[in-house]
């Protein structure tokens, strides 16, 4: 059987400079800067683009003068990249731009706006993303005996990756030990400040193109597997680990397990084939949870796998090698989700300036997390499927 994504590849990627603040930029301007960078990286021109995906797709069509042009404005992150891929594989487009950016949203006195849901059932109890994810993490700790030290060890690994990455906002700010993480101020137990993502500004874009174009470029990365799981809208109801849908098969705490299984099945691969895991890292616990949910270890063993060093540099499965949302950047609601995929592409190309995994041929990239009740998985391969 032919692979469903054999006719499309990711041919261009770009992150703009990332910073806590990017004065003079707004979300649109920084996303467009990323888009132009990704096209340059792909060796393509603006004129080649006939499709745009991402939150501000319609704006980008106007700003880049692309009309008439296909656009899919609604999805975020990996689902958006899959929209782009589908536009190519169904023959609707040849070259699709996926872009996102965050800037001009933050001030010094409040939490980032996307972290504080207004929903009636959670707002009165002071919920925000850290607390939502903490309610999932605590249940895992109760069930499996996962420890704060294990959480902190995961944070230290990701932050130390950022410490080594010249493009990360917190470049040179480490190294960190688990004890350093544990001595940072508490935010929402069990999470300390350094267990949590940062908030920042920056842009990110990818270019997907038909395999006729992609095959001419040895730096192309291929989509070999994908999957998406959701248990409902994020941050509007209690984040219950044991919540199940009507089939009752997997519970919300394991969100992404089905997505990973589908990804591996599509790719004809197994967890052991993954060379690098560019996990989404909104909170340290999510590293542990994803190791278990995606099949890299048994339920309850994620914490000890982290402490073993297996997910650090030189380990069997290095994770979140750019420093992730904790240390690399977290610009808003969309760009940082693309950034996991961008890093996966850079790993397969062998172009990472830090923490390059030797001979990486398969990268797993993810978005979302248990506290948000969704997870998306994308498997990238160096070889044309």
């Amino acid at each position: 059987m032919t692979h469903p994504f054999r006719d499309v590849a990711i041919v261009g990627v770009h992150n703009t400079p990332q910073a806590r603040r990017l004065p003079g930029h707004d979300a649109s301007s920084i996303a467009l800067e990323a888009a132009l960078g990704a096209l340059t990286d792909a060796g393509l021109a603006v004129e080649d683009v006939d499709g745009v995906v991402g939150q501000a797709a319609a704006d980008a069509v106007l700003e880049l003068g692309l009309g008439p042009c296909t656009r899919r404005p609604n999805a975020l992150g990996i689902p958006s990249i899959l929209d782009a891929a589908a536009l190519v594989t169904t023959g609707q487009c040849r070259v699709v731009l996926a872009l996102a950016g965050g800037a001009g949203l933050l001030n010094d006195t409040s939490a980032a706006p996307w972290t504080t849901p207004p929903n009636e059932l959670v707002a009165g109890f002071g919920l925000f993303t850290a607390a939502e994810f903490a309610l999932m993490a605590r249940r895992h700790m109760v069930t499996f005996g996962t420890t704060e030290h294990q959480l902190a060890s995961a944070a230290a690994i990701v932050r130390n990756n950022g410490d080594q990455n010249p493009e990360a906002i917190y470049y040179g700010r480490g190294p960190f030990t688990a004890a350093d993480i544990l001595s940072s101020p508490l935010v929402a137990e069990p999470f300390h400040l350094l267990d949590c993502a940062t908030t920042s500004e920056g842009g990110c874009a990818l270019v997907l193109a038909h395999s006729d174009i992609a095959r001419r470029n040895s730096r192309s990365a291929w989509i070999v597997g994908c999957g998406s799981d959701s248990f409902g809208p994020a941050y509007t109801v209690a984040p219950v680990w044991d919540l199940t849908g009507r089939t009752g098969t997997r519970s919300a705490g394991w969100v992404g397990a089905r997505a990973a299984q589908a990804s591996f099945a599509m790719a004809g691969l197994h967890p052991g084939d993954v060379d690098v895991a560019e996990f989404y890292d909104p909170f340290s616990f999510e590293i542990i949870r994803q190791l278990e949910a995606y099949g890299f270890c048994e339920p309850g063993e994620g914490g000890s796998m982290v402490e073993s060093g297996a997910v650090g540099p030189g380990g069997s499965l290095p994770v979140t090698t750019d420093g992730g949302t904790m240390s690399f950047s977290h610009p808003g609601v969309a760009a940082q989700q693309f950034q996991r995929v961008v890093r996966g592409v850079q790993q397969l190309r062998g172009e990472c300036t830090s923490r390059q995994v030797g001979d990486a041929e398969v990268a797993l990239c993810s978005n979302g997390g248990s506290g948000a009740l969704f997870a998306d998985v994308l498997l990238l391969g160096k070889e044309h499927p």
């Binding site: 207004p118 929903n119 009636e120 009165g124 109890f125 002071g126 309610l135 249940r139 935010v187 109801v237």
Partner: protein
Amino acid sequence: MSATDAENLEASPAGLLSPQPLGIRLPRPSARSEPFWQGCRERRLVLPICGDCGFRALRAFAVCPHCNGKSLGWEESAGRGSLYSWTVVWRPPHPSFVVPYAPAIVALEEGWWFLSAVVGHPSDELREGLALQVEFHPASDEVLLPYFRPVP
């Protein structure tokens, strides 16, 4: 200080988790959830249940997530349950929240999971299975919030 603020502070002596004072960002009740908010004003915990299959839902529904039934009903919970999961917040999303506070998921005896916050207990002595009982505290003149206190 208003009478209701005094009542909230009195509810929990120093060192114990307490209800939030007036002035937090208020929930905006939806039409669909009005029976829940009306119940709170009457200091009763009234929660969504399917009139066809008895499914106890996380929120009010148009179609039952379990049986497709369209008979959303409301049932009063006895307000007793056990602590299923919790967090202790030290850095709130908005400065109107007094820390520490402890958002929690309570497994109610009737089978609902309910998101609330624990009061009247030391923040460092929360544990899974802690027996809890609902109580209500005002967040404004119109809105009462259901909190949970350990059963003595």
